[in-house]
Each structure stands twice: as structure tokens, then as C-alpha cells.
């Protein structure tokens, strides 16, 4: 199933009606443009619904609450583009926090470990966890969905074993301030530029380097990519390692933001992370997606949650997230169908979809290997 109207930053199967005036409009209907419109509309609605929406304080709170899932969505994007998925990120958030907590809190035979070292070890655990995922998926060929479902439970269990019923709190102010407070004199939380820097790095690698092209190639056609010289196994494993590391970073930030390490930190985050990626235009079947879309999705979701909270209907937030997810999957399909319908009318009978379908019969998706 190709969803052509999602901007892929890559050439996709062009519309069959290159001469139609509709085709000229096609570039306008890119997913990111739609997302931008939704974002602006949400901001306008929010401002109209509540005078407190466009305030520095609201920006600071709404953005800060979303930054952990945001950076995990950045790391999830290349994984989904290659056709895999990583469900275990929410448990790695809890596990990395737990590792940091038990080391710094003196709950291990190693005694009180200085916090920078504890954090470094927590990040290392993230790398190892990601490596474990990657090896199982690539070396042993197990489906990513099943593997990461298993590690979702495994890592959470490990966190519970490490912490027991303990809660580690009272982290030094310097660290918790980074996770919770704004840059002095502004309403921008420290975690926001962190997210933006990571977004720029992911953007550069994914859309501007040979590595990124390899990732898209793997997503479009694994075998073809392998025959083209792409080290598919190493690349997929590396992406899982990156996701594990980023989830560990998110876990450390989360624990500092709440000033408490709990084995339940990170619960239910995977759903939000995947929603952000899909809302951002990443095709769940692989092969398409942009970092820009994911950034816009993060801002949009934060704005929607903020509006719902300010209006007092925060109970609808989960429903809103679900709606956005379904919308982001069905809207391109609807758009394509209606475009086909219009084209069929204009071309008078000849169904462009037939031509499209003929092209899709060929093993390669997306036009050309």
C-alpha cells in the first residue's frame, strides 16, 4: 500500500496523471503542509478558547512535558522507516532511570556512585538494551514487533527487580533544574533546545547523508538494498542501539524532571511515541518519513493537549491522541482515493489506478530500485 501524499523526501510513485492540473497541485498536499495547517489552527483555536494559551508559562509547561516522547520519536523514525518497530522504549526509560537511581542512591554493593558516572552507566545500559534488540531482530531474524514486545516486559521487569519498592529522590538541584526549569530569563525549557539539536542531527543524517539514503533503501526493499551493497543487518542494529540510547537519555531526563526514580517511569510512552511518528508522516510500512514532520507532530500534539487541558476537558486527551493516529493513517488514503476519482472523471473512463496497480505489481515499491 503506497500512500503517495505523504512527503517522503524521496521520489515516490508519481501520480499517473502528470499532465493533469491536479498533479500541479499535488506538491501542495504534502503531509507536512497539512500538519502545519493543523498546528496553526490548533494555536488559533487555543488562543480563542483560553487567554492563557499563548503565554510563556503555558509554552514552557506544555513543551517540557512532551520532550521525552519527542526525542524518542526522533529515534523511532528511522527504525520505522526501515520497516521495523521498537516497542521497548518505554521500559528502557524506566530501566535507565532505575540504573541511575540504584547506583547514585547506594542501593548496590558499589555504594554511592557519583551522579555523572551513574548517568553514564544508565546510558550504557540503553546502548546494551538496544544492541540486544538489534541482534535478536537481525542476526536471528525474529520479527521486531515480537522481539521488542518481549523486551518491553523484560526491561520493565529488570527495573522492578533493581528498585524493589524503593523510590530514589532528592537529586541535586543542578540536574533537576536542567530537566524542569527554563533557560534563565526566558520561557524556553532547557530540554527544548536539546530536542531541537537532536532533531537537526537526525535530519542531517536521515535526509542529507548516504546513511540516510541507505535507511530509506532498506525500508523500500530490503533485498534490493542488500544487493546494492547496503549492510542491512548492521544498519538495522545500529538504529536499535540509537533508539536504546535515546530512550535511556529520555529516562534520565524524566527521572530528574520528577525528581524521583520509579520502576513505573515511562509507562504508556510507547503509544505516544509511535503516534508522534505516524502523525509526523512516517509510513508504518516503511520507506517514507521526514524528521520535519515528526517535529511538527510533536508541536501539534503538545498544542492539542494544552488546549484540552486549559479548556478543562483533559479526559479527552487520550481520545484525541487516538483520533490523530487514525486520522494520520486514513487521511492520505482518502486523499489519494479522491484524487484518483477526480482524475478518472477528467481522463474520462481510464482508471489511473489500473496503471498504478500495474506498476505496483513489480517487486520494487516506490518506482525504481
Amino acid at each position: 500500500m503506497t500512500l503517495d501524499t505523504k512527503g517522503g523526501g524521496q521520489d515516490h510513485a508519481g501520480s499517473a496523471t502528470t499532465n493533469s492540473p491536479i498533479a500541479a497541485l499535488a506538491p501542495l498536499v504534502r503531509w507536512e503542509s497539512l500538519l502545519l495547517i493543523i498546528l496553526v489552527a490548533t494555536i488559533l483555536i487555543g488562543n480563542w478558547a483560553s487567554g492563557d494559551f499563548l503565554t510563556g508559562l503555558n509554552f514552557s509547561n506544555s513543551i517540557n512535558n512532551a520532550m521525552e516522547v519527542a526525542i524518542m520519536a526522533l529515534a523511532m523514525t528511522p527504525i520505522i522507516i526501515t520497516g521495523d518497530i521498537d516497542l521497548s522504549v518505554q521500559s528502557m526509560v524506566g530501566l535507565s532511570g532505575a540504573v541511575m537511581g540504584v547506583l547514585w542512591g547506594g542501593l548496590t554493593p558499589l555504594g554511592y556512585v557519583p551522579l555523572p558516572l551513574a548517568i553514564a552507566v544508565a546510558l550504557l545500559v540503553g546502548v546494551i538494551g538496544g544492541l540486544f534488540n538489534g541482534v535478536l531482530v537481525t542476526r536471528w531474524g525474529l520479527p521486531a514487533l515480537v522481539v521488542t514486545l518481549g523486551t518491553l516486559a523484560l526491561y520493565h521487569g529488570l527495573a522492578q527487580v533493581l528498585l524493589g519498592t524503593n523510590v530514589v529522590t532528592n537529586f541535586p538541584a543542578g540536574y533537576t533544574d536542567f530537566a524542569f526549569k527554563n533557560i534563565p530569563g526566558t520561557f524556553v525549557p532547557w530540554t527544548f533546545p536539546t530536542f531541537l539539536i537532536l532533531a537537526v542531527i537526525f535530519y542531517a543524517v536521515l535526509h542529507r547523508t548516504w546513511l540516510g539514503r541507505q535507511i530509506f533503501a532498506i525500508g523500500k526493499n530490503k533485498s534490493a538494498a542488500r544487493y546494492s551493497g547496503v549492510r542491512v543487518g548492521s544498519m538495522r542494529t545500529a538504529l536499535f542501539v540509537v533508539a536504546g540510547l535515546i530512550a535511556a537519555i529520555a529516562g534520565v531526563i524524566l527521572a530528574l524532571r520528577f525528581d524521583s526514580v520509579r520502576s513505573s517511569n515511562g509507562a504508556n510512552m510507547t503509544l505516544t511515541v509511535v503516534t508522534l511518528a505516524v502523525l509526523g508522516g512516517v509510513d508504518i510500512n516503511g520507506g517514507k518519513g521526514t524528521i520535519m514532520g515528526v517535529v511538527l507532530a510533536v508541536l501539534t500534539l503538545a498544542a492539542v493537549q494544552s488546549v484540552l487541558r486549559l479548556v478543562g476537558v483533559s479526559a479527552y486527551i487520550e481520545a484525541a491522541v487516538g483520533f490523530l493516529l487514525i486520522f494520520s493513517v486514513t487521511a492520505p488514503l482518502v486523499a489519494r482515493r479522491s484524487r484518483d476519482l477526480v482524475n478518472r472523471v477528467r481522463l474520462g473512463g481510464q482508471s489511473p489506478s489500473a496503471g498504478q496497480a500495474a506498476r505496483n505489481v513489480a517487486p520494487s515499491r516506490g518506482g525504481g530500485v
Partner: protein, 384 residues
């Protein structure tokens, strides 16, 4: 074209954000001086909380203020979760107090309990909407502390009631009863209802991190060190998260796992009701007793038929009333919230003054014990 345009727009937004951040006049953040690193605090979930004695030495000859309030603006009430009869009763008291002291109360809370961080967005929203005061019953003491501190920094008065947060994060904590006294009461009720004060007992609590329940459980454990409770053996502590379905499942699991169980102690109104329902439906009245903290109206039937021979509580409506009055007093400036301050809230405590004790805490009064003999009267007087 639009693809480039959207990228351009986002790039402008990014530059604007970075520019606004850089254009701040503040210097680069300073590295903390070489003070000794704060020692990590590792708290087991069952945290012993030292409850201060209510009255501080009245050496300060400050005037005793009779609170009048007279405030305007919004006061946001943030209980652990919505749909809980206990907090609904508190809210009745809050609304009553609002007619006397002014201000506009409203409630905002997560739909279900058990998540330590779920209250944070509500606290932040109230702060953003410039509420005059917030009345919070904490699901977890530490997780919400940064958000409460941020609220205080914005000028919002923070009054904790029912379940506390960390000292420093709030202005005043309105405690319903002496924590040690509640713990002792729980132990005593278990002793009263177990045959010859001997046998296995289990605890069905609320959220795993709930400050108040954990404090009472710890106080109960402390009381049970007394030799007269030596025959009682605590075999399990489980958590129902103040969700009816979870509490029911936990109660059933307890009974199944411990066939010699004599008493289920539940320091939460949701849990004690669920346990009583399970005992009644399994026809174990007289074999397994249910005691704990429960609301009179909902527990009346179970008290009368012997499922729950003794249940304890306090006047929750008065607790809400007192919390609101204190918040109004802080907003109007009648009280500052310092230790040693004394004030009177008309119609509560018989007009006797309250004194703010250590950790900025005041105590509503003594708990009430409901049993067969007095439940009818209490259920009539306390409609919750």
C-alpha cells in the same frame, strides 16, 4: 514548493525561539559552588513520616485571627482522582466554605488513581490560569513537588489536604487526624475484630506511593510492636489504586491466597468498600472481618450486618471546609502560614483556635469510630 515553504516557516520559528533564548539578559548558568553534594534519599515506599504534634509552643504572643476570607478568584481543587466519594464529600465542604469565604472553587483531577505523576498537568494548568490557590491531595509526595514549587513561585497559594507533599513545596498542610493516632486506631480495630486479637491480617491500600496511606501503614506497623498486638501477623500488603475493580480483584486474591486470613485492613474508603463487598458475596461474614477507613453512608449496611464491625473516619466535609478556609486566609493575607500562627475557623473545631505546627501542619481533630451502635446516627449526620 509548499514543502520548502513549510521548512522555511519552521526554520524561522526555530530561529525566533533560539533568538529569544539568546537575547535574554541573564548570563550563562553558573556552575553550582562546591557545596557538599546532596545525599540521595532512598525511601522505601512504606515511608515512615514523622507527624508533628499539632500545637507548637505558644510563646509567640501573636493575635489569634478569626478567618473571614473575603477573597475573589479561582481556587482549584486537585484530589487524587475524580469519582471518589471521599473526595466528593470533601468538595461539598469546600463549596460550603466558598459561600462563606468567597472565591470560585473548581475541581480538576485525573480520572483514576495510582499514577504518581498524573496530577502534574492539572497543577500546571491551574498555575497557568493564575488560580489564587490550589488545594491538593497528593498521589505521590515527591513527583508533584517541583510543580507545586513552581506554582508557589508564581504566587499561587498551595494548601495540601488529606495527603501531603514534601516540606517546602506547600504553604500549609491540613491533616485530617494525627497520623500516629490513625495508625494506632487501625491496629486496634484489627485487634478488636480478630478472634482473641490473634490471627493473620492483610492490608489493602490505595496507590503504592500515596503519602497518607503509607504514613498510616507505617504508623500501624509501629503500633503493632506493642506486645498486646503480638498475636496479629501481617501477611500481605496489596494496592488497589483507589480503583473499585482493582481493589475488588486484590481483595479476592488475598482471600484466595491466605485461607486463614482473619482481618482485611483497608485504609482507604474505596478499598474497604471493595473488601466488604467481596467478603459478603463470598459469605465469609464472621470468618473474615473488614476494618479500615470508610465513609459512613456507604459502609452502613456492612457495619450493621457484621461484615465490617468497625470503621473509622473523620468529618471529610469539615476537612474540605477547613482546607478552603485556610487557603482563603492565605490569599487574603490574614495568615502567613508560619509555624506558631494561630487562627480560628468559625463552625469548625467548636471555635477553638488552630496552631500551625512543625512542617506547616494543622490537624482537623480526632477521628470518629463507627460501629453498630452509632452508625445510624453518623450516617444521618454525615451524608457521605
Amino acid at each position: 514548493m509548499f514543502n520548502r515553504l513549510s521548512r522555511f516557516a519552521a526554520g524561522i520559528a526555530l530561529v525566533a525561539v533560539v533568538a529569544s533564548a539568546c537575547s535574554s539578559t541573564a548570563a550563562t548558568p553558573t556552575v553550582a559552588p562546591a557545596t557538599p553534594a546532596p545525599t540521595p534519599v532512598v525511601t522505601p515506599v512504606v515511608t515512615p513520616v514523622v507527624t508533628p504534634v499539632a500545637s507548637a509552643p505558644a510563646s509567640v504572643a501573636a493575635a489569634v485571627v478569626t478567618l473571614k476570607g473575603g477573597i475573589t478568584g479561582s481556587v482549584v481543587v486537585i484530589p487524587k482522582n475524580l469519582g471518589n466519594a471521599y473526595f466528593d464529600a470533601g468538595y461539598v465542604g469546600i463549596q460550603k466554605a466558598a459561600t462563606v469565604f468567597g472565591g470560585t472553587p473548581s475541581q480538576a483531577a485525573p480520572a483514576k488513581g495510582g499514577d504518581p505523576t498524573a496530577q502534574i498537568p492539572f497543577i500546571q494548568t491551574a498555575t497557568t490560569q493564575k488560580a489564587k490557590a490550589i488545594l491538593v491531595s497528593a498521589e505521590d509526595a515527591t513527583a508533584i513537588a517541583p510543580a507545586l514549587t513552581a506554582a508557589k513561585a508564581q504566587g499561587v497559594k498551595v494548601v495540601m489536604w488529606d495527603s501531603n507533599s514534601k516540606p517546602g513545596a506547600y504553604d500549609i498542610f491540613v491533616n485530617q487526624a494525627d497520623t500516629a493516632g490513625i495508625g494506632k486506631g487501625l491496629a486496634q480495630m484489627a485487634c478488636d475484630t480478630a478472634p482473641s486479637c490473634t490471627g493473620e491480617i492483610a492490608i489493602l491500600s490505595a496507590g503504592q506511593t500515596a503519602t497518607n496511606q503509607n504514613a498510616w501503614i507505617a504508623a500501624m506497623a509501629e503500633s503493632m510492636k506493642d506486645p498486646k498486638f503480638a498475636g496479629l501477623k501481617l501477611v500481605a500488603t496489596v494496592y488497589g489504586n483507589d480503583v473499585a475493580a482493582d481493589s475488588t480483584a486484590q481483595a479476592q486474591a488475598l482471600i484466595a491466597a491466605h485461607p486463614n486470613l482473619k482481618v482485611i485492613v483497608s485504609p482507604t474508603s474505596v478499598g474497604v468498600l471493595a473488601a466488604a463487598q467481596v467478603v459478603q458475596s463470598k459469605k465469609l461474614i464472621g470468618k473474615v472481618a473488614v476494618v479500615g477507613l470508610g465513609t459512613p453512608k456507604t459502609m452502613q449496611a456492612y457495619i450493621l450486618d457484621g461484615t465490617a464491625p468497625e470503621v473509622e473516619l473523620w468529618n471529610t466535609i469539615d476537612l474540605g471546609y477547613l482546607a478552603y478556609a485556610v487557603a482563603a486566609g492565605l490569599v487574603s493575607g490574614e495568615i502567613k502560614g508560619t509555624v506558631g500562627e494561630q487562627f480560628i475557623v468559625p463552625t469548625i473545631n467548636g471555635g477553638k483556635p488552630y496552631t500551625i505546627g512543625a512542617d506547616n501542619t494543622i490537624i482537623l481533630g480526632d477521628p470518629l469510630i463507627f460501629n453498630k451502635d452509632n452508625i445510624a446516627q453518623f450516617a444521618k449526620d454525615l451524608p457521605f
